[in-house]
């Protein structure tokens, strides 16, 4: 911490927030609001005279509210920068008639209530997101009695209570009577690993098992006679040296009970806790009397992650942590070029893993910063200004905000920010956007060529580069045999597949068309494949309107790892194709000769959840559900019967 504060190459902007980020890889422009501290950061010597006279008392956030601070305060003694700050919401002094005592005692005259927020503009080439995590609030888990019983505390409160810098100076005591507890319990997985959203999150929070093991050792170290019981589901001590610590904890006499408490009751006289638990190793209900219970709370994404996501056009996992560009090959790159992830913002992790990832992110950023120029692959979008009718649809669908558009203005592509997904080109109603290297003409030529020989036995297949095409590669690597009828046309993203292409393929005699891409959570272009679904929904409606079987258009998500799934999709689609007759194809070609390409779907106009019938376009399985456009955007559809992604919503 100290090193970061005094490094000549680091400008520390504490008590500051990023308000706006524009630009692109190598050339970001950032606006930061440096909030008024009301204390001159450089002049303050942290002598503490001001605190002695401040009349306002507030709970101390750093101490988890276990002690108090004044309106003028320093978060903790080793704070960097080592300067006081005024909590202006609480302070009376912004009206000097009311108070102003601190100003009087400050010898260096560094308190200034006229101080204003300052806006700082920065130019940077790379951004590292290390925004951290929040902790789970266990109040909702009523059976543990947190907030009802004072001697039930969280693991973070435990940290403060046992710390020499904590509210009790490191004397570990109960909050109710100031006595050192003799019998302490720890409850694991609080707010983690549950399928019930009201009781926390489905994921493992990674750090809590080891944190408890560490806490048990600290207690045994300070107070060897303490009786410690840990209630757990599984102990996950998988890291280097972790198992050793676990064994040390057991050897020190810490009792590990497999089972989470079902009920905690407080004795109103002694304020002791009675804990009831099913010991699943012994196969019996047990009761423990404890002086204190520590809830090992899980990690959750920070409350302001959505804001950060929007500032940097990042992408989040369903759990809410920031998503990496690739889980194995680009684990610290964010989905936006030039942005990297470090620490718990990406997923819950301990200090060692945070440091490791931070060094990796710094190295990745350095690859960028150490070059004077970078090259961008020539697969970006180009607007034909003569054709552009200034409608702005392209800017609306661009996942990267790489298209600049204002009313009555021709759309402009910021090439450096463009990732080349092509969903803008597919969306443009006026053919005014061309993708470099993945042109419309090339794709139409590929469709023609695919259908040149024996079209009736050909499945025109669009596959996105990152997932489904790669999934097909995986099927190959694994020698998974499947029928040889698909002819694959590779696009960077399934969002590149314009409704035109599908319509054209049917008009040219395709019996079946398959559009395939990444699963919702994996879309390589943040969320570009939502546009794929919207277009396929419109095409299904359009085919039906013309009396054609909508199931001849199939939509499938397949990840790069799902070779088996690809082979299965190929078999299923071939079965569909085998049932398309020459007469049906001939009729399709006839009907579609003059038919307009359908571009909008009913489903995507539903503002409110509306009763709908969902039908699998592969196996015919049907079910009912309330559906809305929002659900279409956020939830991947899947048939419960055959696991196909070709699920149509009928209203």
């Amino acid at each position: 911490m100290m090193d970061a504060g005094r490094h000549p190459n680091i400008e520390l902007l504490a008590y500051s927030e990023v308000e706006d980020v524009s630009g692109y890889v190598g050339n970001f422009r950032v606006r930061v609001r440096k909030k008024a501290r009301y204390v001159d950061e450089k002049e303050c010597t942290a002598c503490g005279e001001c605190v002695k006279v401040c009349p306002i008392v507030r709970p101390d956030e750093f101490q988890q509210g276990l002690s108090t601070r004044r309106a003028i305060y320093i978060p903790f003694p080793q704070a960097v920068p080592s300067a006081y700050v005024v909590d202006i919401e609480a302070c009376l002094g912004d009206n000097p008639i009311a108070c102003g005592k601190c100003i009087e005692v400050c010898d260096k005259k560094c308190i200034d209530f006229d101080m204003q927020d300052e806006i700082v503009e920065l130019n940077v080439g790379a951004i590292i997101v290390a925004t951290g995590m929040d902790v789970y609030d266990p109040t909702a888990l009523d059976e543990y009695g947190y907030t009802r019983f004072e001697n039930v505390i969280t693991s973070l409160e435990f940290e403060r209570l046992i710390s020499a810098g904590g509210p009790t100076g490191g004397h570990f005591v109960r909050l109710t009577d100031g006595q050192t507890p003799q019998r302490i319990g720890f409850v694991q997985c609080v707010g983690s690993r549950t399928s019930n959203p009201a009781r926390g999150n489905p994921y493992c929070s990674n750090i809590c098992c080891m944190n408890t093991i560490k806490d048990s050792l600290l207690l045994k170290d300070h107070y060897p006679d303490t009786d410690i019981t840990v209630f757990y589901m599984d102990i996950r001590a998988f890291g280097k040296g972790f198992e050793d610590l676990f064994m040390r904890s057991k050897a020190a006499g810490v009792r590990y009970v497999r089972g989470l408490p079902g009920e905690v009751v407080e004795d109103p006289q002694t304020r002791n806790l009675r804990v009831f638990v099913e010991n699943t190793t012994a196969g019996r209900i047990e009761e423990y009397e404890l002086d204190m219970l520590v809830l090992s709370i899980g990690a959750i994404p920070r409350g302001d992650s959505e804001l950060v996501k929007q500032l940097l056009t990042l992408s989040r996992t369903p759990e809410g942590f920031f998503m990496e560009a690739h889980p194995k090959l680009k684990p610290v790159d964010a989905t936006t070029k030039g942005v990297f992830l470090a620490g718990c913002a990406e997923s819950p992790k301990d200090v060692k893993d945070s440091v490791t990832q931070a060094s990796a992110a710094a190295a990745r950023a350095e690859v960028l910063l150490s070059r004077s120029k970078i090259q961008v692959e020539a697969i970006t979008a180009v607007v034909d200004e003569a054709k552009c009718r200034q409608c702005g649809r392209c800017a609306e669908v661009c996942p990267y905000s790489a298209i600049k558009w204002e009313k009555k203005q021709v759309a402009q592509v910021i090439t450096a920010a463009c990732a080349g997904c092509g969903t803008c080109a597919a969306e443009c109603p006026f053919d005014a956007i061309e993708m470099r290297h993945f042109s419309d003409q090339a794709i139409f030529a590929q469709i023609d060529a695919a259908l040149e020989r024996d079209p009736l036995s050909t499945i025109v297949t669009f596959a996105c580069n990152w997932c489904s095409y790669a999934g097909a590669d995986t099927a190959g690597t694994g020698r998974m045999e499947y029928p040889p009828n698909a002819r694959i046309i590779r696009t960077m993203c399934s969002g590149r597949v314009a409704a035109d292409f599908v319509w054209y393929a049917f008009r040219q005699g395709a019996p079946v068309v398959l559009v395939s891409g990444c699963h919702y959570a994996d879309c390589h272009y943040i969320n570009a494949n939502r546009n794929t679904v919207r277009r396929v929904d419109a095409l299904w409606e359009g085919l039906e309107k013309h009396g054609l079987r909508p199931e001849r258009l199939q939509l499938e998500w397949c990840s790069a790892a799902e070779g088996q799934r690809w082979a299965q999709i190929m078999r299923a689609v071939e079965e569909l194709r085998a049932h398309v007759t020459a007469e049906e194809v001939a009729r399709t070609m006839e009907v579609l000769r003059e038919a307009k390409v359908p571009v909008s779907s009913q489903v995507w106009k539903l503002k409110e959840p509306t009763p709908a019938l969902l039908r699998c376009m592969r196996c015919g399985h049907e079910w009912r559900e309330d559906y809305s456009a929002e659900k279409a955007r956020n939830e991947e559809r899947m048939c419960a019967a055959c696991r196909s992604s070709s699920v149509r919503v009928l209203i």
Partner: protein, 197 residues
Amino acid sequence: MKDDLRIGVFVCDCGLNIAGSVDTEAVKDYAATLPDVAVAVRNKYTCSDPGQAEIRRAIVEHNLNRVVIASCSPRLHEPTFRACVQQVGLNPYLLEMANIREHCSWVTLHDRKAATRKAQDIVRVAVARAHWLYPQDEEQLPVTDAALVIGGGVAGIQAALDLADAGHQVYLVEKQPSIGGIMAMLDKTYPTMDCSI
């Protein structure tokens, strides 16, 4: 421009990986019949040094301006072959790959006729696409030599220090009045059981 298209098709055996289930000779012969194909060649290993040398020789000899390589997935060897054609002055975006291994020979192991036919189709689709490829220039962008680190917890501090030590200007932005984050609240940390700050 369309008038003087000269496409070269290079069909790879990949040892027996492709030739084991596809009649690559028939694929090569078929490729030679496709529009604007000036030359079709069959190789045992196209990605090997001799294989690549043959591509370069053919480009010069036949004055090729489009190249189709029928071998493995572009996700594997597109960068290899782009570099290869570039060595003799061909723009790397004038290269197209026909994936007749992962998408064909390896998934159609027991029907040589069907596999060969599929490989021919894949080559035809690739040649059709090659007609619509144009030279592309990769844009060069300047880079501002400075980094922003958002968040002053342990991860942000470490990233900032590493970058600063490497000589880059770093702006470390922290929402709270002090850096340190959650780490600073911890008493001791595992596995070393030492002080967190």
